[in-house]
């Protein structure tokens, strides 16, 4: 695996508290499949009432066409547990989100879909937004060395949980790795039944 986890154009979404109802509104949650959510991402912000793209919404601006890194602010993904939110973002083409903070469930859901979520201090997030004001940015993410590479030898380090890093680098099977503890699960079930028979 290459040490570059991702590279591409950065789209700056300058908002705090972007919630899951904005990322994908409820009318798209009636699907029973995992696919087909790309057009639903940020639906209410992205399209005007007549269904045409809102030219003022950052995602729709031509200079951000094809972006694969989403830069945003604090508490991104707050709200519901719908995994449709990271599915929509990923299917649109983003596989990296950089933010000051993420809501817990959204974070886990994204990691479970092999997306990289990078959390940075407010100062560094401000710095990245400033960079974006200078014109469209193409960055590379080196996951092994935990750095965002801006070109011209400039880089910004980030922290990441060792387990998540390992999972992203090796592509471990989420359920499969837990199944390796199968006999421990069985032992646990038996002792649970003995000590707390009412639990079933």
């Amino acid at each position: 695996m290459s040490k570059i986890f991702a590279k591409g154009l950065v789209c700056p979404l300058d908002k705090n508290n972007v919630d899951t109802d904005q990322i994908i509104p409820k009318q798209f949650l009636t699907s029973v499949s995992r696919d087909g959510f790309a057009d639903a991402m940020f639906f209410d912000w992205r399209y005007l009432a007549d269904g045409s793209p809102d030219p003022d919404f950052v995602i729709n601006k031509p200079e951000y066409n094809g972006a694969s890194i989403l830069l945003t602010r604090a508490n991104f993904g707050c709200g519901s547990s719908r995994e449709h939110a990271p599915w929509a973002i990923q299917q649109y083409g983003f596989n990296v989100i950089i933010a000051e903070s993420f809501a817990d469930i959204f974070f886990n859901n994204s990691v479970n879909n092999a997306m990289l979520l990078i959390q940075l201090s407010k100062t560094n997030i401000d710095l990245l937004f400033n960079r974006c004001q200078q014109g469209p940015q193409h960055w590379q993410i080196d996951l092994a060395s935990q750095e965002i590479l801006f070109g011209n030898n400039a880089a910004l380090g980030f922290n990441i949980d060792a387990d998540i890093k390992q999972r992203l680098l090796s592509g471990l099977d989420f359920i499969g790795s837990s199944e390796q503890l199968n006999s421990q699960i069985t032992d646990f079930e038996q002792s649970r039944k003995a000590s707390q028979p009412w639990l079933g």
């Binding site: 705090n16 508290n17 919630d19 509104p25 029973v32 508490n75 995994e83 028979p197 009412w198």
Partner: protein
């Protein structure tokens, strides 16, 4: 399970840490444990892809006996029929029914008299018990923490993981203690308490934490009130809300369908009594709130921290020192059609929604009905009451609450999530202002362009009667007093 407590631990633990430790099946790596899940609740919206994934990988549901399903999010509240909420909803409901029957998972479908919102029926059925780990593909799973269970929302990949293994990989969360001491004023409800807590901590204040609520105000609260509190702990970003179980908890559970039966009851209670944070346990963060200082709350903006006391004025964006909060306030005011300095008590309402997993239990309906009794919904206001479950509905009908609502001009509906998120046809139209007892005031949550103000059931009922928001403290003092006396038996 029990063995974790039979030996005295050298270091003091919080309630969260006790529950966590007692569920560790094994270690996946130095920082991640595999935890056993006691109850897995599922519903139609976040489970279909998990079942397909399972099938695709040739996996089976490991413990269908610990898995329970309901239909709630996109059911019609007008008629009990899976056809009643449209074609796409019907497909999703059918998929759930098929997945449940294929895998032997008990399902409270629309023909079941106890069907209702997943977080209302879990406790009602006695599925929710102290010390358990409970998960559900729904963020308001935090509700069940009111019983001293570690309960949190998960995504669909995790639903699939739990179906396959009855476990979930977890890392220890940080611990937050929210201590609320003193007595609540007559007109102040648990909904106001949690809104005040969110105002204090912010929507991200709980990120990474499990929040335990304690203090004399919590001890005095009914199970319904505690559920309202824990329900909205997700709105401050907390992974879960927790309240140590006590006699109120045990009394609520006794005799419930899935609660421990007679031969196990005493042993269960004995175990439950060990579930509290040790006196010298250390929390990562602690806040203290004086219950007496809390007044009736209302949101003015589009996230749950944009909240004021009903007698305060809508803030000016300029009053926020943080630039992004200032921008958010500006945007929220534009979306909500409000101006700085405005009083919400001068604002007309178009829709009133009493329902959702936050406030659709019997105590909530009693509080609302006591405000409504003998009065009429104001002209031009559409008002609906959606009980949280079949059990709540029947009880409200037996107590005469349904008649009070109906004769006042409220619509009396079948149980479901309804206008909380408008997946069915219960929606707020663009530009309409809604007094809602639900938990989220996000843009578009109740319908595109809908303007949501979160309030307590009594405040919502008062708004329906007046046709505008009113300060419940100035309307009547009876209903809140009644509510304080109410205890679920």
């Amino acid at each position: 399970m029990g063995h974790a407590f039979s030996t005295t631990s050298s270091s003091a633990k919080t309630l969260y840490q006790k529950i966590y430790a007692s569920h560790v099946v094994g270690k996946l790596n130095p920082s991640t444990d595999l935890l056993f899940v006691d109850r897995h609740l599922i519903h139609e919206v976040t489970s279909p892809q998990a079942f397909s994934g399972l099938k695709l990988a040739n996996r089976k549901v490991r413990r269908p006996d610990l898995t329970f399903a309901t239909m709630d999010h996109n059911v019609s509240t007008q008629r009990r029929s899976i056809d009643a909420a449209g074609e796409t909803s019907r497909k999703q409901l059918e998929a759930l029914a098929a997945n449940c029957s294929e895998n032997n998972i008990p399902l409270l479908d629309l023909t079941h008299p106890d069907q209702g919102i997943v977080h209302v029926i879990g406790p009602e059925q006695g599925l929710t018990q102290p010390g358990m780990i409970i998960v559900c593909g729904d963020s308001h799973t935090s509700t069940h923490g009111a019983f001293g269970a570690l309960a949190f929302g998960i995504g669909t990949s995790e639903v699939e993981h739990v179906l396959a293994t009855q476990t979930l990989p977890q890392q220890q969360a940080k611990t937050l203690k929210v201590e609320i001491n003193g007595e609540l004023s007559a007109h102040v409800t648990p909904k106001d308490v949690i809104m005040a807590v969110i105002a204090e901590l912010g929507t991200a204040g709980g990120n990474g934490y499990v929040a335990e609520f304690g203090g004399s105000a919590i001890a005095a609260m009914s199970m319904e009130g505690r559920m309202t509190l824990c329900n909205m702990s997700i709105e401050m970003g907390a992974k879960a809300g927790l309240i140590a179980p006590d006699e109120t908890t045990f009394a609520y559970l006794k005799g419930k369908a899935h609660a421990p039966q007679a031969e196990h009851w005493d042993a269960a209670v004995q175990y439950w009594q060990s579930l509290y944070s040790d006196a010298d346990a250390v929390f990562d963060k602690q806040v203290e709130i004086d219950a007496g200082s809390i007044t009736p709350q209302i949101t003015w903006g589009t996230n749950p921290e944009q909240v004021i006391a009903i007698d305060q004025s809508v803030p000016s964006p300029a009053s926020f020192t943080d630039a992004t909060k200032r921008d958010a306030a500006e945007r929220a005011l534009a979306y909500m059609g409000l101006a700085p300095g405005q009083k919400l008590t001068d604002c007309q309402v178009d829709v009133v929604f009493i329902g959702s997993c936050t406030n659709s239990r019997i105590e909530d309906l009693r509080a609302a009905a006591s405000v409504v009794q003998g009065k009429q919904v104001a002209a031009g206001v559409r008002a609906l009451v959606v009980p949280g479950s079949g059990i709540v509905k029947r009880q409200a009908e037996a107590e005469g609450l349904a008649d009070i609502f109906k004769s006042a001009g409220f619509e009396w509906r079948e149980p479901g999530c309804s206008m909380c998120l408008g997946m069915n046809d219960d929606r707020v139209a663009a530009g309409e202002r809604c007094a809602s007892t639900s938990n989220r005031n996000f843009e578009g949550r109740q319908g595109r362009g809908a303007r949501t103000h979160l309030v307590s059931p009594a405040m919502a009922a008062a708004a329906a009667i007046a046709g505008k928001f009113v300060n419940i403290a100035t309307v009547s003092s009876e209903q809140a007093a009644i509510q304080k006396e109410t205890r679920y038996e």
